[in-house]
Symmetry: C2
Subunit: 388 residues, 2 copies
């Protein structure tokens, strides 16, 4: 049954290969000082930086640059960014990059005018913003996290070996996001496919829970079917605009709150994956793919009917001659087959995880209780062992 919920999403999206044309008009809604956040400089090589700077110039903005946002943005970098935003009294933070840069920019937006330590306040203590929030806009260059249309922000503290996500509300979501599929063409293939798995995992974290009949789950099935179909095309030809545009659009809807409306969610693959990330700094999507099969085997008996439904509705597996449990198990074979096809990690050893880390990773895993089975510490260690 659909539970009670409130739905709203204030982000405005400009989608398509001329989407950047809307940026200078959109910028008119904000004051003169713009903090431009980005990563390692790939946007300077592929022309996106020039496109964005041209729009900023056309809108007469004063630009303060904040480069060097790392793939797993750190608490220390967040503190530095908050100081820069405050010292320059910026009117808008424009994030140009993937989920890391946008997540980071949300963190800065709620921290600049806040006197408490942002890592402790928002991530460790999960509090809500109580100071002025600087608006955020984004130009997306890598697909996967859905950060372009949600309130999510994941920050890593390597000293504390913790990687924690905070989901902020409507007032922190990007005011606008520019989605040009062409901007994703130059993402290295390993990052591209990690993003594909991240999308699948976002859908599964929300789909593989509950025993109810929900419209939301039918939408999730549609999104998965589209993702599987388009990802197979994109791994062969990363410059297939149709496939990349469909994947970009799927990624946005996979995690812009729609798929969790009225139902419980799991999110344990993300919790385990983030703990691995805190220990190894490995690519986010790969930490998810590497533990998924073992994790789903552990919870499958709590949700056999849903796994069986998934096998048919998304993977096109016939129920003929199979028990429900056989059908459910076949869904995991299909998932594993697709992982191999797109080329994502299926063993955590390939991400630098060693035997001696397992207990620590399991301890760094936040245990949530929305899924088909709540695993304890020993079971998480077991999932990790089976993922080696």
């Amino acid at each position: 049954m659909l539970g009670n919920f409130v739905y709203s999403n204030p982000t405005k999206l400009y989608f398509g290969d001329d989407a950047i044309k809307n940026l200078s008009d959109e910028l008119k809604n904000y004051g003169p000082r713009v903090l431009l956040t980005y990563g390692g400089g790939s946007i300077k090589r592929n022309g996106v930086y020039d496109d964005v700077m041209a729009a900023l110039k056309a809108a007469g903005k004063e630009v303060i640059e904040l480069p060097g946002v790392m793939p797993n943005p750190t608490a220390q970098k967040l503190r530095e960014g908050a100081k820069i935003a405050r010292d320059n009294d910026v009117d808008l933070i424009l994030a140009v990059g993937g989920g890391s840069t946008i997540d980071y920019s949300k963190g800065v937006s709620v921290s600049a005018w806040c006197d408490e330590d942002p890592w402790e306040k928002y991530y460790l203590r999960q509090e809500e913003p109580s100071c002025k929030i600087i608006p955020v806009g984004s130009v997306l260059t890598m697909v996967g996290t859905g950060s372009e249309m949600n309130g999510g922000s994941v920050i890593t503290n390597h000293e504390q070996k913790l990687k924690i996500g905070k989901v902020f509300g409507d007032n922190v979501m990007p005011k606008f996001s520019i989605l040009n599929p062409r901007y994703t063409f130059t993402v290295p293939k390993r990052q591209m496919v990690a993003g594909f798995y991240d999308i699948m995992c976002h859908i599964l974290e929300q789909y593989l829970s509950d025993h109810d009949d929900n419209t939301t789950d039918y939408i999730a099935e549609g999104l998965m079917r589209s993702l599987v179909h388009s990802s197979r095309i994109a791994v062969k030809n990363p410059e297939d605009y149709e496939a990349r545009s469909n994947i970009m659009w799927t990624a946005t809807w996979a995690l812009n709150t729609l798929l969790k409306m009225g139902k419980s969610t799991d999110w344990m693959v993300h919790m385990i994956g983030q703990a691995i990330g805190a220990y190894t700094d490995a690519t986010h999507g790969m930490t998810l793919s590497a533990v998924s099969i073992a994790y789903y085997r552990h919870i499958l008996d709590g949700g056999v009917a849903k796994f069986a439904r998934w096998a048919q509705a998304v993977w096109g597996i016939s129920a003929d001659g199979k028990t429900e449990r056989e059908l459910a198990l076949a869904s995991l074979d299909a998932l594993k087959g697709w992982m191999d096809e797109i080329g994502v990690a299926t063993e955590i050893t390939s991400l630098g995880v060693t035997e001696d880390m397992l207990d620590g990773i399991a301890r760094a895993t936040f245990i949530l209780n929305g899924g088909y089975k709540v695993l304890d510490h020993d079971e998480i260690v077991q999932v990790l062992k089976e993922s080696m």
Copy 2:
């Protein structure tokens, strides 16, 4: 290929069987004078009126009542409502009802402070608002039109024998909508199933067009599968909360702009249906169901692959031993079977259409060109004849 588009939807939704609890808080965002629009008084019999009045009182509002909004709201009623809204200088229009009441309230919202005739300006000439717009909120009591989360507004002029829809922008969409599935339990069965077909038709008008591979169409398939499944339950037991809540949620997403993003759309079943409505004042959903099969037969050869895909993805028809065209035709048999199952009109004669009206109805039909085939006047007459 997903075309270029802009997506945003500002409506906030409160969904569930306690959704009304949010109303008095939400009302605090608006000034003291509220225009309460509703229909024939069913909300006084089922308790919704009392719930709403209690919230209005709790929020300290002065209420101006505007009852009597008819199923196909008229241009004359719109002019009257605009005068009432202006004379009372209302701060909010609260629509309590189905699509007719919400559509009507949007019309009033853009007409109260406008000196031109609203029928001519917005519906005949399809202009945009150029005067103050009064915010609209809604409490939904009948499911189908999606008016609770879009800018659509259909008004009928019986003198001119025209029923015309106008799609307003973000600034006219409801600021908030209260969606309580229980409020729909007392809708008479004929109206309920007409709403079900309206939902299906909204999805099909956007799905049955284009030859591209679009994520949007996969979402549409998910919504249709959910609708078919839940409608079969609801016709047997209209008080099945799970089924009614899923249908309510499907209806909202069927027509809140998502399904048209990046693709062309058809909408000719609605154009023909609305012309029938202008002549007969028949229930909207029934005018759509009654002409659909004949219409789709006429356009099928322009989109055989899509009809065939639909047969498999939504109706679960096996492709084995069938040509693509046979599969496509089987989708229409399945649609007709579902129509009979839920009990919607499949002949326009049952709606009061007579032979002598056909030419006039065809002339009152606005011809759009986004679908698989553009029909001319004679072909529309032919579709109508085949629908008798």
